[in-house]
Every structure is written in C-alpha cells, then in structure tokens.
C-alpha cells in the first residue's frame, strides 16, 4: 500500500537541503558537490508524500544531514526498473547512507533513532519497557490509524485531483471507524502527555504527516480539534522546530 500522497510539486531550494528532479539534475549536481563534501543520507521520494515525511521529520529531529532525491509518483517513476532495484515493492521512501540501503519508513526511523540515540531528543524511550510502548503505538498507527487516513485522503484529495470521483460512502465509513480509534487515543492522551509516555517519541512523530493531510487537504480537522487532549497533543507536536523546518522545505 505505501501510504503515498502526492500533490503537484514545485521546486524548492533551502540552504543545505537540495531538492533535485532527475531531469534538471545536471545544473544542481555541481551545487550538491560543493555543499555536501561529506556523505549525507539520500532520501528517495517526494518531499510532499507522507511516508518520506516520516523519515525526514526523524532526520531533522536528530539533526542528520540529508539530500532529497525526488521520485515523480505522478509519472510512475516508483514503478520503473531503476527504482524497483532500490525498493522492490515500488513504494517510497528508500534511503541510501553510504553503502547501506533501507526501505519502509517505520524501519528507517527506528534505525536512525537507534543509531543517533545519543544525539538530539530521545525518540525511543529510556528503558526497554518504554521502548516497547513506543513500538506498540507505532504499530497502532500502522494498523489502526494509517489505513483509514490514507483511504480518506485518497478519496477526498488525490483521486479528485486526478479527475476521478472519490467514493464518499467509503470516506464516511472510514470516518466513523477513525472516530472510534481517536476516542481511544483521547483516553490515552488524557492519562499521558504523549502516546508512549511523558516524552515525545517516534510514536508521536509517526502520526505527523498523515494527521496534517487529514486536517488540511482532506478538511477533516474536526476529528482532531473536537477532542481536547488530542487537540493539545497535536498543537504540541506540530509546533516542534523540526516539523516546522520540514513544512518549510515542503513549501506547505
């Protein structure tokens, strides 16, 4: 499935982070070489898509330098042989860090949160029991939250932009299920400042991209704002400097 949301892209350049499209790459390569003498993590995927954003938010939290290599989903670049070598399921994102390659956004964020455990905020908890709660809520997001949000955004935003009608009955059914899921989150967040405990972790971070799409393009913000503790949690996590940097990068 992959959870790919893609909208019309624009070229954005920010200091240290060069946003390349392959067809226009010749001019930009010289800039990259001068900017980045050291190896940086390459993140393959459009900066606007939710799953790449999950990885970028984590790298920004950990202050890890990266380079975004754009993948044009509208033109099916992710299904071309060159990309399938990198990610055989034809999904974004994938990373390349020197010789090391990885895909699946939630595997990538776990990797970097562990690799740079000593740097920046602790995104994995202090004990094994806290780490397991981080994993629990990452799994909840993956299995209970993501599919519903993805379906709603696909039907409300992506298909109409491609000139196809969205299935509103399906949206309504997903919305009802998501209400029940969010009631459980509301209960959790009334007892705990963040999902896995008293500190911000990957469990919260993983919800950022999808929730933003839900509230903005899909115009389903009431699902968040009508729930007191979820609303406070959203205000908090979406105000983090790393997330704000990503929003700038994505020109949102």
């Amino acid at each position: 499935m992959g959870g790919e949301f893609h909208v019309t892209t624009t070229m954005c350049f920010r200091e240290n982070f060069v946003y390349i499209t392959p067809s226009k790459s010749s001019l930009k390569r010289a800039e990259i070489r001068s900017l980045n003498n050291k190896m940086v993590v390459k993140v393959f995927g459009p900066v606007h898509a939710a799953c790449p954003q999950r990885v970028l938010a984590c790298l920004l939290e950990k202050d890890v330098d990266f380079e975004i290599v754009h993948v044009n989903l509208d033109q099916g670049e992710h299904k071309q042989p060159d990309f399938l070598v990198r990610q055989p399921f034809g999904q974004v994102p994938a990373i390349e860090d020197g010789d090391f390659r990885l895909f699946e956004s939630r595997a990538i964020i776990r990797y970097y949160a562990a690799k740079y455990a000593e740097r920046g905020p602790n995104l994995l908890g202090k004990t094994l029991e806290e780490r397991a709660l981080v994993d629990q809520w990452l799994e909840v997001e993956a299995h209970n939250f993501n599919d519903l949000v993805y379906t709603m955004v696909l039907q409300l935003v992506v298909l109409p932009r491609m000139g196809q009608p969205g299935d509103l009955a399906l949206v309504h059914s997903c919305e009802q299920k998501l209400e029940k899921v969010l009631d459980i989150y509301e209960q959790r967040l009334s007892n705990s400042k963040y999902l896995a405990g008293e500190s911000f972790t990957l469990a919260d971070l993983t919800h950022l991209p999808g929730t933003r799409y839900l509230m903005n393009e899909a115009k389903m913000g009431h699902l968040i704002t009508e729930r007191k503790h979820i609303n406070a949690w959203w205000e908090d996590i979406s105000s983090r400097p790393a997330w704000k940097k990503l929003m700038n990068l994505a020109c949102f």
Partner: protein
C-alpha cells in the same frame, strides 16, 4: 510470575508465542474466544482498548500489538536463546525492514483471505469471493518479490533466522493448511525452501499445536 499471553488459539498471539519459545521464555495462556466476542468484553478492553489479539501481561507490565511484543522480548532476552535481531544496528535495520514488509505488504491480503475463507461463516457474514480472489493475486505478487529476495539471501533479514521470518509463521500456516493453498508456497522454489526451514523449527512445531 510467568508471561501471560491472551488468545493462543489464533494467529497473531502465536507470533508472540513462537518468539517466546525461540527465546526459551516460559509463558501461560489465557483463552479468548473471538466467536463468542470475548475480545469485546469490558475486562479485555481494559487490557487492549482496540479489542485485538494478543495482549501480554508480564507482572505489572501490559503490552499489546504482537510485533511490538516480539521486538520487546527479542531485545530484552538478547543473550538468551536464538538471536532474532542481528548483531549490529544495520543488521537490525534490515530485520526491521522485512518485518515492516510483512506487516504492510504480506499481512493485509493474507489476513483478508484468512477472515473470508476460514472465519466468515463462523462469524456470521457471507465470504466475499471477489475479495478472496483479489487478495490471492496481491499475495502472489508479494511472494514473487520474496522469491527473488530468497534467491539472494538465506532468510528474509539476512543469513540468519530473525523476527522478519518468524512473523510470517502463523498466517502462512493457515495458508498451507486449512486454506488449502500450499501451492502458493510450493510453486516458488526459494519461498518453498525457506518455508521448509522456518516451519520445521522445533519452536514452531510446538506452538502450532495450540
């Protein structure tokens, strides 16, 4: 005090039980009858508010989501039993990658097939033949990718048995057994070889009996 695992008759709890068996960790089971709707009882929902199986209790500690539980025990008992995570952060990263592949690419179609082929009549709704057919096609495409991976790598996560392989055991057992679709595994040479190896492990032979 031993670990309590809820719902041993079903596949996702078995994901946890086979991990505990690989690590040599004792456990007890607590029956939860899905057909009777026991996963929706208030007492169960206090432990697992989404009403899904499994949940574990380890003394005062409660944890749910099988793939979170197996990560916890694999790390906590790293030096005991089989090493299911790899020796370096990079090895673990690759294990995590294929565990996520199982969760996002393998699990959805095989889960739909399981519900509609094995459980629909018991749960009182008509099985959706179109969904079954589409799911089998999707699963076939995933297994084709596994076939290539397993032609280059002994196990999914690398050259060692890991959580990435283990996670596939319970639902694949449903596929080759009661669903009658063993051909999906046997038609693929490397997937077949891999399935033979992982399903013949003593831990799985013990847990599949529950």
């Amino acid at each position: 005090m031993v670990v309590k695992v809820y719902g041993p008759a079903y596949a996702s709890p078995k994901r946890v039980m086979v991990c505990l068996a690989e690590k040599g960790i004792e456990f007890e089971t607590v029956t939860v009858d899905l057909i009777k709707g026991e996963h929706r009882n208030p007492e169960y929902l206090k432990l697992q508010p989404f009403g899904a199986l499994p949940v574990i209790q380890d003394g005062d500690y409660t944890l749910y989501e099988s793939r979170a539980i197996i990560r916890y025990y694999a790390e906590k008992y790293k030096s005991q039993g089989t090493d299911l995570l790899g020796k370096t952060i990079e090895e673990r990263g690759v294990v995590e990658q294929w565990l996520e592949v199982e969760a996002h690419n393998f699990h959805p179609p095989i889960y739909d097939m399981t519900v509609h082929i094995l459980f629909a009549s018991k749960l009182g709704f008509p099985s959706d033949e179109k969904l079954i057919k589409e799911s089998e096609e999707k699963l076939g495409k995933v297994l084709d990718i596994y076939e290539k991976r397993l032609s280059e790598s002994k196990y999914l996560g690398g050259d060692f048995f890991s959580l990435a392989d283990l996670s596939h055991l319970p639902f694949t057992q449903y596929l080759v057994g009661p669903m009658g679709k063993e051909y999906m595994i046997r038609d693929r040479k490397n997937v077949s070889r891999w399935w033979n190896e992982i399903s013949n492990r003593p831990s799985w032979k013990k847990i599949m009996q529950f």
